[in-house]
């Protein structure tokens, strides 16, 4: 077979399979979240659809598809429809550069367990994450509703404020690794004590906090503070358009967890178990943390949030770079 054709064929199959696995993880993350939140709050969570409520995500998806698709009369129709797509696409293409396993051999073909190892991998992640703001901005503006606009504005301001410290916190790792490729960064953390979490503990904390704020999750879920803003930027959205915002949110949670795993916990590397299992285990730990925090912490106030981002995290992130730089010279 023609090698170029074979490459294209393998790529297309690989991408389709990975996207489906990703969607599967997302839908079961919603199940896990409801189940865990339920048990933390001394409830049972979903239990009626299938054993342990395991078919709940599928039921939810079907329900969303059949719901009435409302477009408010005063909304800007085209932009209103485009907004969820603009949120959905960036959230689902970020993971392209994250390695989730070593090479495997299938049907005599050597396949890398990563969609693409590009030499500017980390910057790709930040570039795509930065584009995620627009879905929210456009949704808030196009709805032509006061709650939506306020929620959208708040979300935007919050996301860009925390994006600065989010990107700055990684610089320390880059200095140690000397590469922007996530594959290289994983390879450098080849044993337990070589994991970057031990060399960059401060960066890890900053990254995690900013990651939670970036995804608009509790305790930073201000844009969706029900008591003041109803549902924030997606107040006017119903049916699958609301579903797409929801998928995008969960996809971002998975992305942040996967990136944290890759950068700080050595990615897929680990003893005994197969690499993919290690990757999923480490990622699940972060996902659990996300849900746990949501069940435990009260919401920030908006002024506290902005102050914390600009006056605490930003100087700390810069300090971390300075410390790393000085230590590396000595």
């Amino acid at each position: 077979m023609n090698p170029t054709f074979l490459f294209i064929l393998i790529t297309v199959i690989k991408v389709v399979v990975i996207v489906h696995i990703f969607m599967f993880i997302l839908s079961y993350l919603t199940w896990a979240e409801r189940k865990l939140l339920g048990h933390i709050q001394a409830r049972l969570g979903p239990k009626n659809v299938g054993p342990f409520g395991l078919l709940q995500p599928i039921a939810d998806g079907i329900k969303l598809l059949f719901k009435e698709d409302i477009i408010p009369a005063q909304a800007n129709k085209i932009l209103f429809v485009i907004a969820p797509v603009l949120s959905f696409i960036p959230a689902l293409i970020v993971f392209a550069v994250i390695p989730f396993g070593d090479k495997v051999t299938l049907f005599g073909q050597e396949i890398d367990l990563i969609i693409s190892d590009i030499n500017v991998g980390l910057l790709y992640i930040f570039a795509i994450t930065a584009l995620g703001v627009y879905g929210i901005a456009i949704a808030g503006w196009a709805s032509n509703s006061k709650y939506s606009l306020l929620g959208g504005l708040r979300s935007m301001a919050q996301m860009i404020s925390y994006e600065v410290s989010y990107t700055l916190s990684i610089v320390g790792i880059l200095m140690l690794a000397g590469s922007l490729s996530l594959v290289d960064i994983v390879k450098m953390q080849d044993s337990f004590w070589h994991m970057f979490i031990f060399k960059q503990p401060l960066a890890f904390l900053i990254y995690l906090i900013c990651g939670i704020a970036e995804t608009n999750r509790a305790p930073f879920d201000l844009p969706e503070a029900e008591t003041e803003l109803v549902a924030g930027f997606h107040t006017e959205y119903s049916s699958m358009k609301f579903g797409m915002f929801s998928i995008a949110e969960y996809a971002n949670v998975v992305n942040v967890s996967a990136i944290a795993t890759t950068l700080f916990l050595g990615g897929w590397q680990g003893p005994y178990l197969p690499p993919v299992v290690w990757f999923l285990l480490k990622m699940s730990a972060f996902l659990f943390l996300f849900i746990w925090l949501r069940a435990t912490l009260p919401r920030f106030r908006y002024d506290q949030l902005m102050k914390f981002g600009w006056q605490v995290l930003l100087p700390l992130a810069l300090l971390n770079i300075l410390i790393t730089a000085v230590i590396m010279i000595i």
């Binding site: 790529t11 408010p72 009369a73 032509n144 320390g172 880059l174 006056q311 730089a325």
Partner: protein, 118 residues
Amino acid sequence: MFEQYFPIFVLVTVVTIMALGMLVLSHLLGRKKGTKRKLMPYECGIEPEEDARQRFPVKFYLVALMFIVFDIEVVFLYPWAVIYKQLALFGLIEMGIFILILMVGYVYILKKGALKWE
């Protein structure tokens, strides 16, 4: 180049098709019974007054500007960090001066209270 970016191109295509598919499916499957009241913007049951698109505080604009400034700083920091091992002390000093000048601006903003939200 082709081998590196073609998979991402495929991924973007697949995801876009999925997004459009969801929009079309929910449009076809969902019931459509929009009444005048249902299509009004949600305002807790009260008749909406005035246009939703009011002018909002200039602070949001300031935050966006700060974001650009620090984003550009980050863009400089990335290549610097990647080759820091080769630059060593020289690199520390030159980036130190760069950030110090920016910090003057940062302190000025804080002193002016531009990032304070009451």
